[in-house]
């Protein structure tokens, strides 16, 4: 574990332990963290929610303090003590004034809470989409993510790259959420609240992170066996990084003659039915696009690091990392798998 990460970890644990007194503490971190805490917002929607949540926490916290205080007082003050427990206390059946008071005060609190909440709902949900926005179509699959950039003509999987949005040149990202099979939910806590991906019911959400880096999250709607390993990685790039990434993604797949054997295996096996590698006959859409597989840090939607050993194990049997994943173990010889890995390793 790198020291930076350990620090983050420590910090998030600390913030977990001091939650009750958080109202006073300003937003903890601006940049990405290993812990996807909602208390470390790094994008406008998450920030507005964070501020709102502090306000609500303050109000509910005060209600708690008052009522729990009363309860504690009653329990201590009015507990029966020894001898005079014989006589019954005076019987009181009710009091209209008091009851009216504790009806009216909550009504007022509710009005305040509702108005504040409604304002934020409209601010986030109905924010107009600026011209400069980047559009990304997110398609949920059992158990991986497909990302399409219609204007840039890019298709990729599991790792979303978006540009950082600066105050001077805001470039928010608008996600159009679709599903290929069952319900999923896109949740990267530091960037925004979650929104569900529902078949036949397109949804939208937006993010505008400032600080570059890697933000983690995961599918937040139970979607079947491997719902737990449907992780999301959002890379927020500086504009330059983003442009060079996009440029690479737009290229055809690398055609390296050294890996010809692997390519032949790939094209003669069922792989082509499910995967696309642009520039080859592989046009399947059931599984992730592999054209630039090597540009991703993980495979299997975050189930394992993208290393040759892991690729080998994955192709032999995806169940090693992800039991229940919808890619079958193909029963290939070790030789074939080695060739495949060699081929896939060229797909930068």
């Amino acid at each position: 574990m790198q020291p930076g990460r350990r620090l983050c970890l420590f910090r998030s644990r600390l913030c977990a332990l001091c939650l009750p007194c958080l109202c006073a503490v300003p937003a903890l971190a601006q940049g990405p963290q290993a812990t996807p805490s909602i208390l470390a917002p790094a994008s406008t929607p998450a920030h507005e929610i964070y501020n709102l949540s502090l306000f609500v926490l303050l109000i509910t916290g005060s209600i708690f303090a008052v009522v729990a205080g009363l309860l504690a007082y009653v329990v201590v003050r009015f507990r029966a003590r020894g001898p005079d427990a014989e006589h019954e206390p005076p019987q009181i059946y009710g009091s209209t004034q008091v009851e009216l008071a504790w009806t009216v005060i909550p009504v007022l609190i509710v009005v305040v809470l509702f108005l504040t909440t409604a304002r934020i709902i409209f601010a986030i949900q109905d924010a107009p989409e600026p011209k400069s926005a980047l559009d990304v179509t997110v398609i949920g699959h059992q158990f991986w993510w497909e990302f399409r950039y219609p204007k840039l003509n890019i298709v990729t999987a599991n790792e979303l790259h978006i540009p950082a949005s600066t105050r001077g040149a805001p470039e928010p990202t608008y996600l159009h959420l679709l599903s290929a099979d069952v319900d999923h939910s896109f949740w990267v806590p530091q960037l925004a609240g979650k929104t569900d991906l529902i078949p036949n019911h397109p949804n939208e959400m937006w993010l505008d992170p400032r600080a570059p880096g890697l933000y983690v999250g995961q599918c937040a709607q139970f979607c079947g066996v491997e719902h737990a390993k449907m992780l999301i990685r959002v890379y927020v790039d500086t504009p330059q990084q983003f442009d060079s990434w996009a440029e690479n993604q737009q290229r055809l797949a690398v055609d390296d003659s050294a890996a010809l054997a692997g390519r032949e295996v790939f094209e003669s096996q069922a792989c082509v039915n499910c995967h696309t590698i642009v520039g080859t006959p592989a046009h399947g859409t059931f599984g992730p696009d592999l054209t630039h597989l090597m540009s991703r840090a993980t495979i299997g939607a975050g189930a394992a690091a993208n290393t040759p050993e892991n690729l080998h194990a994955w192709i032999e049997d995806p169940g090693t990392f992800k039991p229940g994943a919808l890619m079958p173990a193909m029963q290939l010889s070790n030789q074939q798998v080695n060739e495949l890995v060699a081929y896939l390793s060229t797909l930068h």
């Binding site: 812990t35 009653v74 009015f78 009710g94 109905d126």
Partner: protein
């Protein structure tokens, strides 16, 4: 048995053999239509399933204690939380509360039995059969194709995950069928309770003299009529889809997944109030007796209960803030949800006012009732946090939600159930539960509860989603999950102590007498346990606390009640 022709003197009076007596006894329980026996059957049935579903919860906690654990696989884990949730709600919560109602409502309104005793027995056996059907899926889920397979789609079973294409085999069918069967059982009980409270009250027991528990059961039963039935309807649609190829929730043919979500929560939200309101009723009986004061603001308590029931019908979409409703729709459901806090607040304040100025005796039932008050307050406030739609976009389907509803379901309802068992056990069995074990049970459960569920709020805020069988080691959730799991084990020990207390006190407990708590409602005027037809002569009442009037002839309630 064999020689009918040669009666041997003495043989007739000789006790029947042990086996025969046991059979006789069992037969008596199986064919009974007595509301008290049925009530006890419900409660025993529910406690059994509390152990089963609790064991499932502990298995989940073992799996989640450390990241990347292999205690159970993903398939098993998904079955565990589906069965845990379904069992706790439908086989523990509903039957135990309806069991108390069965036992107590006729006694409290001075009736000899429920309005329809045979329907009552039928409802119980439907419920019991539904439970067996659900658990039979462990054996029969995949039928001939292989080993058993329990439902694994979550207790809200969102479409289209339940469609044949994504959920092959028969486990989802078992789930839907058993809920339909139990739904009819519940419907029967609800009808019965309504008819009993409206038509079987003894002389003088006007509606506004009914004990609050009876009032709450009346409201709950009314609510049940219109909330369980939508679930039944939705399950029928699901089965039509799965068995005859309908398209209600088939997104390929224009069907809508969102419609299922609406239908489920149109049932699901009022359902949680169906669960909590009997608990309110229990608290409203226990708190006055142990504070030695009449309930404060009885009319307001009744009005608040009816109010909660009404408002709860219009808040269901607060479970759906993330499915993409319009902003106006979201705002509407924020408002309606927050409004529930007002009548609920009235209840909390009235309980506090009842305790205020009293002489509170902290016997075990009152300990649990006080725990309920404290925890329900927190649970309600986290509910308010969830009802803040933008915040819910973050918190939805995270462990924060799990924490919220376990605070209500365990910290509120289970605490009240324990309070009720400690309170009425002497009436039902004639023996007191051990106070020493009761205190051990209370404190261990309280500590375990807080260790588990307080911590869950934190992992939720740190971004841990629910329904995941494992998590990454670098997310900063490891320690907290370990703590949660440890708390779960402490709760398990407490529940085992409780189970032992039930059995041990039944055999060796102190004799209870008719009225061990010096209480005021009619059930305490009968012997413990009450005879078959409850009352020797039909009682007549003229206030909310008939036994208070009796014990304080100079200072009776009916002089003061509004």
């Amino acid at each position: 048995m064999a020689d009918h022709t040669l009666p041997i003197p003495g043989a007739i009076t000789a006790a029947p053999s042990r086996g025969a007596a046991l059979l006789e006894w069992l037969h008596g329980w199986v064919v009974t239509v007595d509301h008290k026996r049925l009530g006890i059957l419900y409660v025993v049935y529910a406690i059994f399933f509390l152990l089963v579903a609790g064991a499932e919860a502990l298995a989940m906690r073992i799996q989640l204690a450390i990241p990347g654990n292999h205690f159970v696989g993903p398939e098993t884990y998904n079955e565990l939380f589906t069965m845990h949730g379904t069992t706790m709600v439908f086989l523990v919560g509903m039957p135990i509360l309806f069991g108390f109602a069965n036992y107590l409502v006729p006694l409290m309104v001075g009736a000899r039995d429920m309005a329809f005793p045979r329907l009552n027995a039928f409802s119980f056996w439907l419920t019991a059969f539904g439970g067996l059907l659900l658990y039979f899926s462990f054996i029969g889920g995949f039928g001939l194709y292989g080993m058993g397979n329990a439902p694994d789609v979550g207790w809200f079973a969102y479409a289209p995950l339940t469609a044949k294409a994504f959920s092959p085999g028969h486990n989802t069918d078992y789930w839907a069928l058993s809920l339909i069967v139990m739904g009819f059982g519940t419907l029967g009980t609800a009808i019965n309770i309504i008819a009993t409270t409206l038509s079987m009250r003894c002389r003088g027991m006007t509606l506004f003299r009914m004990p609050l528990f009876v009032w709450l059961m009346l409201v709950v039963s009314g609510l049940t009529l219109i909330t369980i039935t939508p679930l039944t309807a939705a399950q029928i649609m699901l089965l039509i889809d799965r068995y005859v190829g309908g398209h209600f929730f088939d997104t390929q043919s224009g069907g809508s997944a969102v419609v299922w979500i609406h239908f489920f929560w149109i049932f699901g939200h009022p359902e949680v109030y169906v669960l909590v309101m009997p608990a309110f009723g229990i608290a409203s009986e226990i708190i006055p007796v142990f504070s030695r004061k009449a309930i404060f603001g009885y009319p307001a308590m009744v009005a608040a209960s009816v109010g909660i029931a009404f408002v709860s019908l219009g808040v269901w979409a607060h479970h759906m803030f993330t499915v993409g409703m319009t902003s106006v729709g979201n705002a509407f459901f924020v408002l309606s949800t927050m409004m529930v806090g007002i009548p609920t607040g009235i209840k909390i304040f009235n309980w506090l006012a009842t305790m205020w100025g009293g002489k509170i005796r902290f016997a075990t039932p009152m300990l649990f009732a006080t725990g309920f008050l404290f925890q329900f307050l927190i649970a309600g406030l986290t509910g308010i946090m969830l009802s803040v739609a933008p915040w819910d976009w973050q918190l939805h389907n995270s462990y924060f939600v799990i924490a919220h509803f376990h605070y209500v379901l365990v910290g509120g309802i289970v605490f009240c159930i324990f309070a009720a068992i400690y309170y009425w056990y002497p009436k039902a069995t004639g023996r007191m539960l051990s106070e020493t074990l009761g205190h051990w049970h209370f404190w261990l459960f309280l500590i375990g509860f807080h260790i588990t569920f307080d911590t869950m709020h934190l992992v939720g805020i740190l971004g841990m989603p629910r329904s995941i069988y494992t998590y990454e080691a670098d997310r900063g959730w490891n320690t907290l999950n370990m703590i949660i799991s440890a708390g779960g084990m402490i709760q398990g020990i407490a529940v085992l102590i409780f189970a032992w207390n039930l059995i041990d006190s039944f055999l060796h407990g102190k004799e209870a007498g008719n009225d061990p708590w010096d209480a005021w409602t009619l059930e305490w005027s009968t012997p413990s346990p009450p005879p078959a037809y409850n009352f020797g002569a039909d009682p007549v009442v003229r206030s909310r606390r008939p036994l208070w009037d009796l014990k304080h002839p100079n200072d009776p309630d009916w002089k003061y009640e509004q």
